[in-house]
Structures are given as structure tokens and as C-alpha cells.
Symmetry: C5
Subunit: 87 residues, 5 copies
Amino acid sequence: MEIMRVLDDLVCSRRIGGLQAASLRLLQNQAGDRQVATDPVGAPVGKWVFTTTGSAARVAMPDPRVMTDLTICGIIDHWVDEAADAA
Amino acid sequence: MEIMRVLDDLVCSRRIGGLQAASLRLLQNQAGDRQVATDPVGAPVGKWVFTTTGSAARVAMPDPRVMTDLTICGIIDHWVDEAADAA
Amino acid sequence: MEIMRVLDDLVCSRRIGGLQAASLRLLQNQAGDRQVATDPVGAPVGKWVFTTTGSAARVAMPDPRVMTDLTICGIIDHWVDEAADAA
Amino acid sequence: MEIMRVLDDLVCSRRIGGLQAASLRLLQNQAGDRQVATDPVGAPVGKWVFTTTGSAARVAMPDPRVMTDLTICGIIDHWVDEAADAA
Amino acid sequence: MEIMRVLDDLVCSRRIGGLQAASLRLLQNQAGDRQVATDPVGAPVGKWVFTTTGSAARVAMPDPRVMTDLTICGIIDHWVDEAADAA
């Protein structure tokens, strides 16, 4: 599961029906790329989260019929930078 | 879901039957790579869109039997560059 | 669906039974990496094609039981470089 | 299956129910990126492990209903650097 | 299907049951990254092979219940470098 940061909500008026009313969030990964994820946990802007991809992204939604390939799974409490230093 | 920009329609006379009559679009991702996507929303050239991959790309089509691994899911209303600056 | 170029046939005497008698092609992607794909359309050497990955690669074969994760889906008629310039 | 190193446990108070009580580990891949994995083998910090992605990550869990896309599959006994030199 | 080279066997005493008694090989891809694959064809060290990922990796095994996301599918007889030059 990839570690990303919440940048903003995604403003998107025209979208396919398969997304239903799912909340969409604009995320940024560690390489700086921006991606769009469905958010069942209500992650605040600025927080680090971890996300799941593929078919697991649909299973992670309260309704697994929501069409997505990236879902926020949890909010990271604090960023363990000392772990990276020890690597 | 990845954020990409619509470059053009894709001209392709010989293609497999599994694609049926799906509209094909030429997209460019944030790294500058060009990819081909099926388009159920009718995204105009030049617009930013977000796309879904894998088995979700098929579920996102009106007919899930269409053979694709990249489908346009929505058109982004405005590009939130100030969000990137705050990251 | 990724855009690649056909380099050659792949010579391979020992391979698993799941590939059956599928035609194998050596492709090169936009980053210069070489990959192996099953080819149900008979793409000529030197042509640009677009390919599908994952479970869609199997659905794209005439026999979906063929074991593959990359299949050629269509031949691109002409390469729209002016589209990239406009991006 | 990708080769990664165990950095730390992941501290995460708010997470989706689909993860159940699965142990979460912070890993680092060969490119230096950090990822989050479920760990059914109890890999110690500092060890090299190999991981599986996609739907295989769920099958690799004792309970395949656990929502994950990255699972530790085994601990590498010793790192064969001489193999890389011979490449 | 990606093209990789066989570096060595993988020594791994503690691994999950889902891998059963599958032979594990240490491979190196064209970018130099090392990965772990299941090997149903018995590829010799030093040989170039092509591999399949995702759910196809399981279908490619004699027993599709073996938990893997990377399987060797065939041994390349000779490396067509002249094809790359013509690209």
C-alpha cells in the first residue's frame, strides 16, 4: 500500500455513474505525482495516508460496486522518519 | 486514479473485436507518456481528466465486456495548482 | 493501453503450456524497454501498436485461457505527433 | 515478487474495517520508496523480505478477505550480492 | 510480459504456506532491479527469460493455487539485439 499526502478535494462536475457519490480526494505520492482517490475514512487535507490499488480498492469501499482503483485505507499517526534514517 | 490530459482521438483501422465500437482517445500523463484510453464521458481535447486502470477500467464502461485497461472516469473542472504549492 | 512498437518475432523453444500456440512478438515501449506480447492481430514489424495489460490481456485473446499479461489490441494508422506538440 | 526491507511497524489509529487486525509494516523497496504491507510471517525490523502485490496479496493472507495489495511472503536468509555482480 | 535474466536460486527458509514447494528464482530486469519469481520451466542461471505478472502468474503455474505474482513463462533462445538497433 502506497504512502501519499492529501492535497485537496477534487472538483469534478462530470463523472461516470459508477463512482456514485463517493468522495474524491487529490493526493500526492512520494515522487510528487498527483492522483485521485476515493476516501471512505474522511482524511483531512495535509495528512499522510496509505492507499490500496487494483481490485482491493473496490473491496475497501463500503460499497464494493463503486468503480475505483485507488482508495484511502488509513491515516498515518506520525511519520517515522527515524526509520528511514536507520535503513 | 491517474490524472491525464486529452491530446486527440486515436485513428486505428485494424483493432480486435473486444474493443467493440468504443471511442478511443490519445492521452498524456504527468510524466509526458502517451497512452490510449476508452472514453465513455466524451472528454474534449485539451481537458484534464482522471482515469482508472485494471479491471475497474472495464467496470467503468457502460458495457463491462469491452476489453480495455484504461478508461476516462471524469473531467476535472479546474486544476488546483495552489494545492501542489502547499504540499 | 500503452503505445509500443513491434521490433521482431520472439524465438523461444521452451515455454509453458498455458501460452498454447499464441504468436509472441518483441515490442519496445516509449521508454525504450523491450517486452513480450501475444499478438492476435498480426502486427507487422516496425508498426506502432497499442497494448492492454492485466486480466484484459487474456480477454483480448480469441481464447481467453491463453496465459498472457500483454496483448496487442490494434495497429495505429499514423502517429499523431502534432497532438503532442499542442500539449 | 519485489524485494524490500522492513523499516518499522506502522502506527495508524484510524483505518478501514477491511484491514481487520492485520499487522502493518513499513517497508522500503530497492528504489528507496516506502510502502505499507500486511505481514503474516512476523518479519523482524532490518530484514530483507519479498512481497506480493495485487489479488495475490489477499490470497497470501491467512484470511483472504483482508483488504490489502501488498503482503510479505517470506524472509530472505542472506542477500546474494555475488549474484548481482555476476549479472 | 517482461524480459529478465536469471541470477540465482533464492534461499528462503521462512515463507508462507501459499507458496507450497514452488521453486523460487532471483531475477534481474532490464532496469537492474532484482525480483523473485516462481519457476515452472527450470530456467538455468544466466539465461534470459520472459515473465508474467498479476493473476496470469498464478494461471501460469501447474497448480494455479500457488500464491505468486511473477512467474517465468519461457526461455528466450537468443537475444535479438539487431532488432533493437533497427528500432
